[in-house]
Every structure is written in structure tokens, then in C-alpha cells.
Symmetry: C2
């Protein structure tokens, strides 16, 4: 019996020790380091009401679109989740199917080129908006605009060194698009019988003309090109409002006013990634756009920097009457994005953006260097105050000229080469020119370059074709 007892206690002891070994293993190895399989330890995140939305956002971001597209929270739903929205010529449910022979769409200035930067900075640029965020029409200290955002915009310009903001007023708009029109209204004549003459230099962004004509106010009239105007009119005592795009769209050159009247400087592209910054711009009315700076075109945000108080109040009045200010959700998002853009004096952001554009131009210029049929704009080095050295511009667009006599409609010529560009006449220039966008997604750019390479090689290989 004693032997049985000893045997029994021995077994219990061994079992007890075995259980302890199991428990130890479970606790010190199985705390999650085994990965997702180990679900037994319940884990309470410290988040409460925001966790559901955060999980939802991460789940959607994790939807694989083969690296050639993106799924968004508000995309169309298919099989219970938002669909992949594909870039370039990719398609299929996961954007993995490349459509052979598909045209490279380089028509729109859709600025997806910076998407990788924001994905790399995901944690800092995410914004969580509560259901009760800023329901009021007004801020506590301003009827329409965020004081914090105003502050960061001024910091941004100080860091980029591209505009004077001290003692200047700032007004936000729904994209710089809205501010172009607000500026025209603010600067225009108050005498209907003597409307202001609105002009721009060819090639110019079509919106100046289309918008001005559309609003069709008694206070202003779109007159067209500055050169034609200058040769037909003495500019003394003439009420002119001149749009000055600097750098130009599409060419990318820095410009000054030519008429000596009132000016609206459209500085949408006046950032280090597109052009050397010789110094801070200091004009009476300057308009900037978030779209081209950070790539957030969908957010619809622009701002005007204004010297004169009376003009400022008129621009503000436009924004108030047109739509009672811009979305406060948008203003919060922009604040988040700009805080990241200006980190470490803007170096990581502007270096990323510049390197992206430089790389694209290096490769593009190489392709065109092999062509006599097509040419692109000349670029001249300038000292850049931001990067502290002389650099070539890297404009957002290639302004392509078809050099052969018979190639009068360059857009059509490119289209035959499966490249979609914007015709010169869209910019009130000759159709011998066409604009190609260089700021779309990497997939779009790669396809553009491929098609251009094919086109140029056709040219060199076989002068008869196309």
C-alpha cells in the first residue's frame, strides 16, 4: 500500500510540474508573440468611441489593390467591401490586370505623385473627426477661418521662402479655383458702364477665361491675351486686371506682369518641387493651392495672400456670400497635412517631392532628347533659396511641340501614339502644342514614358509610320 501511495503521489507531483511548465510556456511565450492565432488573452485598447472607425479605416486601407490602385472608405461596395479604384491602365477587382494597348492618360493635372509620401507618414497625417466636430458655422475667434491653420500657412511660407505673409491678410477658398473668381470680383470696377478688362498671357489656364465669362458680371469682361491687348490699347488709365501665372501652366517658367495694372498672381506651382525659388514673392494678391503643393486635390483648398485691406474684405465677402466659408472638416485636414509638410523645416517633404519630379524630368528629357519630331520646353537653371543651390526647374507639365509641318494638331498625333494630352487651344495657344501631365501616379507616369519611348522609337525606326 505504501508503494501505491508513493507511486500515486509521484504521479500527482509530475502532473503538477507538467501543468506548471504548460502555464509558463503559455504565459511567457503566448502573449501575442505567437501572432494572431493566439486569441485567448483578451486585450483592451485604451480607445473607446473612435476605435470602430479607426479599425474600419485600417481595414479598407489594407485591401490589396496589387499596388496599382486604392480602396477608399466611401468607394462603391462590392462583396461587402469598397472596390479597388485602379491607376493608369490597370483594372480588375484587385487592379492586377494591365490592359495592353491602353492609352496613357496624361490629360489632367491630377496630383497623385505625392501619395507615397503620405502613406509613409500615415500615423501623423491621419485625422479623426468626431461626429460633433465643429458643427457651428463659426469658429470661436473668427467667422469662417481657422486661426491655427492661418498660423501654419504662414509658417509654411516662411519655411519655403516663397511668399511674404507678414502684415498680409489670408483668405481660404474651396480650391484656388474659387479664389481666382473672388479676386476678379474684388479687384473689378464698381461702375457697370465701365467694366474692368481681365487678361492673361497665352498660353494660359482656361479657367481664367471660362470662369470670368461664366459669371458674366457687369463689373468685368474677359479680354484675352495681354500681348494683343497691349498692341491695341494704351494701358495708361485702363482698368486692367491681369492674371499672372508664375510658374506658368503649362510651361513652368517664372513670370512677371506685363501690363502695369492690377494683378492676380496665380502661384499654384510656386513651390521648390516645381521651380527654383529665387526669393519670396511679394505681390498685392497671390493665390496658392493645396492641390499642387501636397497633392490633396480632392480636399479642395486654396488660399489668397492679400496686401490691401479693402481688397481683403471684398474677397472675404465673396467667400461669405458664395458659400458662408469653407468646410471646417477640410480646414482640420489641411492643418494636419501642413504640420507634417513643414516638419524639420520642410526638408523631408520638399526633398521627396523634388526628387520625384526631378527623376521624372530626367527620364522624360532623355526620351525627348532622341526626338526631332517632338520637343519640350527648354529649362534654365536658377538659384533656389530653399535648396541653396542652382537647379533646373521640374515643371508639373511637359509642353510638347509637334515640330513636323504636317503635325498641326499635336494632341491628335499623340493620341495616335496612345497618349492623351490636352490640346494647345485649351490654353488659347496653337494646337501645334499639347500639354502632358507629369504629376499623376507612378503607374500613370511609367505608362506615359513607355508610350513616349515607343513613339520616339517609331520616329527613329520608321519615318513613314504615323
Amino acid at each position: 500500500m505504501n508503494k501505491m501511495k508513493k507511486y500515486y503521489y509521484g504521479i500527482c507531483f509530475l502532473i503538477s510540474v507538467a501543468i506548471n511548465i504548460l502555464f509558463s510556456t503559455y504565459l511567457y511565450v503566448g502573449d501575442g508573440r505567437w501572432g494572431e492565432n493566439n486569441q485567448e488573452i483578451s486585450c483592451r485598447s485604451s480607445l473607446t468611441w473612435s476605435e470602430k472607425a479607426a479599425s474600419e479605416a485600417e481595414a479598407v486601407a489594407a485591401i490589396s489593390c496589387s499596388g496599382h490602385g486604392r480602396a477608399f472608405l466611401d468607394g462603391s461596395i462590392s462583396y461587402g467591401q469598397p472596390v479597388c479604384e485602379c491607376y493608369g491602365c490597370y483594372g480588375g477587382t484587385d487592379c492586377s490586370e494591365l490592359s495592353p494597348g491602353c492609352a496613357a492618360d496624361a490629360n489632367s493635372g491630377d496630383p497623385i505623385y505625392l501619395e507615397p509620401f503620405w502613406m509613409q507618414n500615415a500615423a501623423d497625417t491621419t485625422v479623426v473627426i468626431s461626429g460633433w466636430h465643429r458643427m457651428s458655422y463659426e469658429y470661436d475667434d473668427d467667422p469662417m477661418m481657422s486661426t491655427e491653420l492661418d498660423k501654419y500657412i504662414r509658417k509654411l511660407h516662411s519655411i519655403a521662402g516663397n511668399a511674404i505673409t507678414q502684415d498680409r491678410y489670408i483668405v481660404f477658398g474651396v480650391g484656388s479655383s474659387q479664389l481666382l473668381s473672388a479676386a476678379v470680383y474684388a479687384l473689378s470696377s464698381e461702375i457697370s458702364s465701365s467694366p474692368s478688362n481681365v487678361l492673361a498671357s497665352i498660353p494660359f489656364y482656361h479657367l481664367y477665361k471660362d470662369q470670368t465669362r461664366f459669371f458674366n458680371s457687369e463689373n468685368f469682361l474677359f479680354r484675352g491675351d495681354t500681348s494683343s491687348w497691349k498692341s491695341n490699347n494704351s494701358t495708361d488709365n485702363m482698368d486692367v486686371i491681369e492674371f499672372v501665372t508664375s510658374p506658368t501652366n503649362p510651361g513652368g517658367e517664372l513670370k512677371k506682369a506685363v501690363l502695369g495694372g492690377k494683378t492676380i498672381y496665380d502661384h499654384a506651382y510656386f513651390w521648390p518641387q516645381f521651380t527654383p525659388i529665387p526669393g519670396p514673392s511679394d505681390h498685392d494678391l497671390m493665390i496658392f493651392s493645396l492641390s499642387k503643393l501636397t497633392g490633396h486635390a480632392g480636399t479642395r483648398f486654396g488660399w489668397a495672400i492679400i496686401k490691401d485691406k479693402d481688397v481683403y474684405e471684398k474677397v472675404l465677402n465673396y467667400i461669405y456670400l458664395a458659400n458662408a466659408g469653407i468646410s471646417k472638416d477640410t480646414q482640420l485636414r489641411v492643418l494636419k497635412v501642413l504640420k507634417v509638410a513643414i516638419k524639420e523645416d520642410g526638408k523631408p517633404f520638399f526633398e521627396f517631392a523634388y526628387n520625384k519630379m526631378k527623376d521624372r524630368w530626367d527620364r522624360l528629357a532623355f526620351v525627348f532628347s532622341n526626338s526631332t519630331r517632338f520637343s519640350i520646353q527648354q529649362r534654365h537653371p536658377l538659384h533656389c533659396n530653399f535648396f541653396h543651390e542652382s537647379r533646373l526647374p521640374s515643371p508639373a507639365y511637359a509642353w510638347v511641340r509637334c515640330e513636323r509641318d504636317e503635325d498641326e494638331d499635336c494632341r491628335v498625333v499623340l493620341e495616335a501614339g496612345r497618349i492623351i494630352g490636352q490640346s494647345g487651344s485649351t490654353f488659347s495657344a496653337k494646337d501645334r502644342y499639347a500639354r502632358l501631365s507629369l504629376i499623376k501616379s507612378q503607374d500613370d507616369f511609367e505608362l506615359l514614358l513607355q508610350r513616349l519611348t515607343e513613339l520616339v522609337s517609331f520616329e527613329n525606326g520608321n519615318m513613314e509610320t504615323m
Copy 2:
């Protein structure tokens, strides 16, 4: 020796069993159910890039403003965190200091009345926007507008039963404010020598006049009140565009057009919380606003429901030329909010909103019932299709009339009683009237009621004072 051995093994066995008990207790009780004190189990939230922003948002939401204010992510920073922005007459760093004698500000239609609902539904209405959310100008399947949001707006109208959307086009705008102007442009004459006549019925929302005059197009002219126009002009063959506000602002009555020409129906208040819904509205051009429906005025979102394709294209063109569409961040936020508003056939939301308004009107009506010096608009019961019973309207505003002969300027009379309202002339009506907003925060309403009660009691207690 054997005895020592037995003793030794006995002790080991007991120790082993004790350890078993400890481990068991630790595992099956200490898995977090002890609460926050139990920190030993390392806890990895499954969130990654969104966690920082989510924590930040929750931390700001948790800032105590004594229940009399709100701190926001983009508020001014003081001592390292956003300041409290206080309601009504509260002030101080935590909004706990009530300023005695401070005036009740009932001027603005700032719709904070629904804030508690959104706070109660925090988890469902939070939206997490990644740094790369919809950077493009366009949606995959539409140049400017979210297809999902369009779908939910149609569901909303179907549930509320307040508008026909089938076979109708929808256009989004930066608040209904923007769509009012877009509609005027879309409906107006294309012959400058014969501009359209834009009219509205007194008392009308000032923006119709201010906006129309400001844009000063050659295509339209603001002519004023419909009644005056009707008595001076035959409406046959006259190019008229009539703003029909239904329910009216400020009175809250349902209205129809009076001129028989083109109409723009401003249905900003045509929701069950403000008025009985007799049936779905079916006019050619109807404009709705998120601001008054859900209270999200700061978001700046409205939509137009349009019958005619040509008119639709013109309104779309306005939005495109004015600002290339509205913010995609805004559209995502609105989608989230509307998904919650229509849950359970809209019952929780509309019941909450209606009960809030009804409670305010019951209390307000009681105060005014004791007054002969002031009167407010009469309300008449109507059958409501949404609530399936006859109900009194509960308008967003009280339209106060000063009854005493000498009280010609009602706004001034109320101001002396420390109540800030909007003068009748702001609505092109007589200054014998003043508008009081009933849709602000609960703190604002309580103070308004208190001041009104004081004012009325003065009237009854002492006819000489004030």
C-alpha cells in the same frame, strides 16, 4: 534519510500545487476583468497607423469644459492643449464661469441643438481620414460627386418622405448657400438685354438678395418682393425666377410659389423636426441643407434635386467652374452622418430632433402666452406623414412681433432686455418684427428662455419700465 526525502518531496509537491493555483488565478481572473489596475498582461491593440490620431481625438474630446463648451482638435493651444470654446454666456478656461447679465444671443441660426445626438452616437459617426484619402480631383465613376453619398441622400428622402428623387438629378454644393446662386445662374436668361427677374416673398432670407446683387450678372436682376411685383407687372411672358422658402425662414410655414414662373424651392427646413411633412415635395428644383437637418453647419454641405437635365447640367457647370466640385473629405463625413441619421428608418434621429424642438416650443409658447407686449407666429396642426399623426410645427425660429405702438424697433426692445435677435429688416420686413433662433445649444436656449421670462415678467409686474 527516508523521512527527510519524504519531507522534501512533500514540500516540493505543495509548492508545485501552490504555483498551479497562482497561475490559474492569474490566467482566469486576471485577464483584464480586474480593470485598469491589471497592467501586467501586455496588450497590443490591433490598430496601427490610425491609433495615434484616434488617441489624440479622444484626448481632446475628454477635455472637460464643464458641459458648457467644447474643445476641438484644431482649437487655439493653451498650456499644450486646445482651449475650451464656450456656449452661451459661459466663459473661463473650463467654461464654468457664467457671466451674469450677459445677453442671450439668439441671432444666428447656428444649429448646435443636435450636438447631444451625435455625441451619443459617437462610435458610428466618427470618421477616420487617412493622409492619402482621395487625393484625386475625381471619383472613379464621377468627376465630382460620391456615388455612395448620392445613394444615401435618396434613401434619406425616401425615409423622411419629404422629396421625390426618382428620375431626378442631384448636385452637391458647399452648403445650400452655394446652390442658391448656382440655381439662379442655371435658370436665368442667356440674353443680357433681357435679364431674368429674381424675386422672393417678404419676409425672406437676406442671402437671396445679397448674393444675387453681389454676383451682378448681366443675366439676372434682383427685383424684390413677389407681391409688389405681382401688383405692378403682368406675370404672363415675364421671365421670373422665384425663391420659394418652404417652410419659411423665419416663420416656419409651408408655402407654394405665387408667380407661376420658374421656381427655386429652398427646403432647408423641410424636415420632420421643424414641420409636419404632408407629403414628398415634387418641384423642378429643390435645395436642401445638411446644416439644418443634422446640425453640421460647419461642414458646409447642401444638395439640389433637379428635374430638368439641361438645368442640372448648368448647375453642375456652375459648381465645376466655381470650385471644381466640393471637398471629398466633406463628402465622406456627410456619408457617415447620414448613414446614422437613417438608421432604423430614421426614427431615433428624427424623434430626438423633433422632441428637442417640441420641448423648446412648448416652453417658449408658455412664456409668450403670458405676454401682450410680444407675440410670436401662430402655428396650425397638420398631418405629418413621417410621424403618422397630426402635429404642430416647431420652427427653427420665433418670429416675434412687438405689439406696442411705440415699440417700432423690436430688435432694440429685445436688446434692452438682453436678448440679441435679428431685425425684421434683415428679412426685408418691418422692424416691428425680430427673429430669435431656437436651434442653438441648450445653454443658449436656457438663457434665452430666462431672459424672455424676465422680460415678460417685467411687462406684467411693471408697465413703466423698459
